[in-house]
Subunit: 388 residues, 2 copies
Amino acid sequence: MIIFSSEEQAIIEQYKRLKAAAGTHSPSISSLTETVKGITVKTDACFLSNPYATDLFLEYFQRDLIINKRIRDVLEFYPTQNRGIACHLEGLLGVPANNIFIGNGAIEIIQALLHRFTKKRMLVILPTFSPYYEFARSDVEVFYHTLDKENFFILNTEKLLHDIVENKIDTLIIVNPNNPDGSYIPLATLYNVLKECGALEQVIIDESFIHFAYEEDSFAIPTCVPFCAQFSNLVVVKSMSKDFGIAGVRAGYAVMNENKVSALLQNGYLWNSNGIAEYFFKLMGRKEFLTEYEQLRCRYIKERQFFYEELSQISQILVYPTSANFFLVELLDGTKANDLALALLLRHGIYIRSAKDKKGLSGEFVRVASRRLDENKLIAHALKDSFV
Amino acid sequence: MIIFSSEEQAIIEQYKRLKAAAGTHSPSISSLTETVKGITVKTDACFLSNPYATDLFLEYFQRDLIINKRIRDVLEFYPTQNRGIACHLEGLLGVPANNIFIGNGAIEIIQALLHRFTKKRMLVILPTFSPYYEFARSDVEVFYHTLDKENFFILNTEKLLHDIVENKIDTLIIVNPNNPDGSYIPLATLYNVLKECGALEQVIIDESFIHFAYEEDSFAIPTCVPFCAQFSNLVVVKSMSKDFGIAGVRAGYAVMNENKVSALLQNGYLWNSNGIAEYFFKLMGRKEFLTEYEQLRCRYIKERQFFYEELSQISQILVYPTSANFFLVELLDGTKANDLALALLLRHGIYIRSAKDKKGLSGEFVRVASRRLDENKLIAHALKDSFV
């Protein structure tokens, strides 16, 4: 059990007010350190990203825009329209630009899909990224299919398909790898699910964490994008904030039927990318950038595996296997998730996510992002300390 | 009459394809110069902005983010949520944050308002910024109230109110100053219109160009924002792209009834500002920045007046008086607007906007942005040349 001093209690009260305002999300580091006095964040293990990819992006940014004095061009003028930016991704994704919708972060795409193409009955797999149910229109009924922690959150497709039929679902949401548990559904399994879901209006597969998953020893990125050609109701959503560590840039895309893209662009989303996001999407078409990124992606995955082994040695917690860039951690010794998160923040400057408010999780859980090698060591050390 | 060489004709064909893809908007400079070979743009007089304000923003950007090495913070991490950013504008606007909705550019706000709060019948004043009718939901009927060029596009409120009643309008759109003609409606007139429109669901007043208008010799910025306290159906929309010359940053806001803000945030718009936009909104709260900006705004207005006098000396055109940062120019000698725009682009590297596709304008019109003093001289000179 963690006991807080009265000084710590006072800081915690400030934090709680900020958290209440942030809803079901973590307050950002900047609002946290500006609003709550007495908090210094050394390691943000709430933030789900590959920090080595951020380094790489910033190197290119510095060279291309700052040293070459092109920053004015991207900040002053209107960015290219949605369809124009989609062209930059054609080669990388291997699909025509007409099938690509560019978003101001994946969250804008999620909002657009839920508001425009959901009919009446939506199925969300729990636990999940909360906007998938929070952004549902008020006239849509949301059904839940809850994964079992006893089964390591592995999807049972038979049960899922049963729930879809029984509840006459028109929109199915799958996040793969899933957030916050990191479980992964193999492509072959998803293909079978899609085959059974032909009657649905839309199946959204969110691959925002897919760069951290693999099915082969080569670490090649698995993806459902090629399935879009066969299943016209499939929408594959992709955030760039996680794999490239650039949440402030706001960049995401989705691959979908070209009629859906046209419907969205017919009355909206004209200039929804900013100049820096447009620069980033162009960078995605440059071979040298992708080659360098690929090395850093593989390095990050290997270090995440190492972090898993370190965390697994702590007897008071259960670390769930992950294919994402974070771990869901269950506290087994009676420690409360909120207390652990606050203790790490106040005593070690380590910001982790209590999963206490996550729908569909019963027990005491925290979510810990895998960061740089040295940060991971600090996190593991601080965690061990907390249970003494 | 302008006659193009066969070489010019070939470039024009390329341009036309690009223009067709850009719909009712000008292709961006970057897509223009990348796609159309043989075009160099020296002066972008399509782009409606105060370039001196862009200089100022870039100075602060360079100092705060590049020299002080804080660029990583704004690009790596999630920006603050919508309501958090609204707090930065409370002081400047003199309204509570609960009444402020932050947009990824004003265009996102326009889309949100039209999609969410328009009921069935919307009135748009012509000529206008085309998204106001293009973004209407398919189940909304759009009515038009056309301003007379013979009356210098000055609004006749009696006729407007008559159209509102006769067509049972629920949403009224007013852009003030108006785009593309630059006409201005005094605040006292708007107040009277608002008093008569209490039964409407929403009245949208778009003040995106208001920093270039004034009613007093001091050049103080007029605004309808204070009227929001009295008229709960009033929404004041504001782009920051024009006055601050930062279209690539994507920053806008709207002041509206707090229930409308809550309705929008209930299922969307969570992280719709990027890190650079958040930095900009914070800058708006810094006194030294606003003081320096104010000087540049007044300088720009004075130079625009001077440009008006220069342009007015050209006998083949009629320059309409403006309260915005551009001039609507009518071609009186039989020259076609599209030809003039292309000739200026190909022969002088000056990019102006043909208003040929603007609904509600009959005749040959171009729209010319006021730029820096030296650029304005080049534009005036090239225009004079074109009519020889």
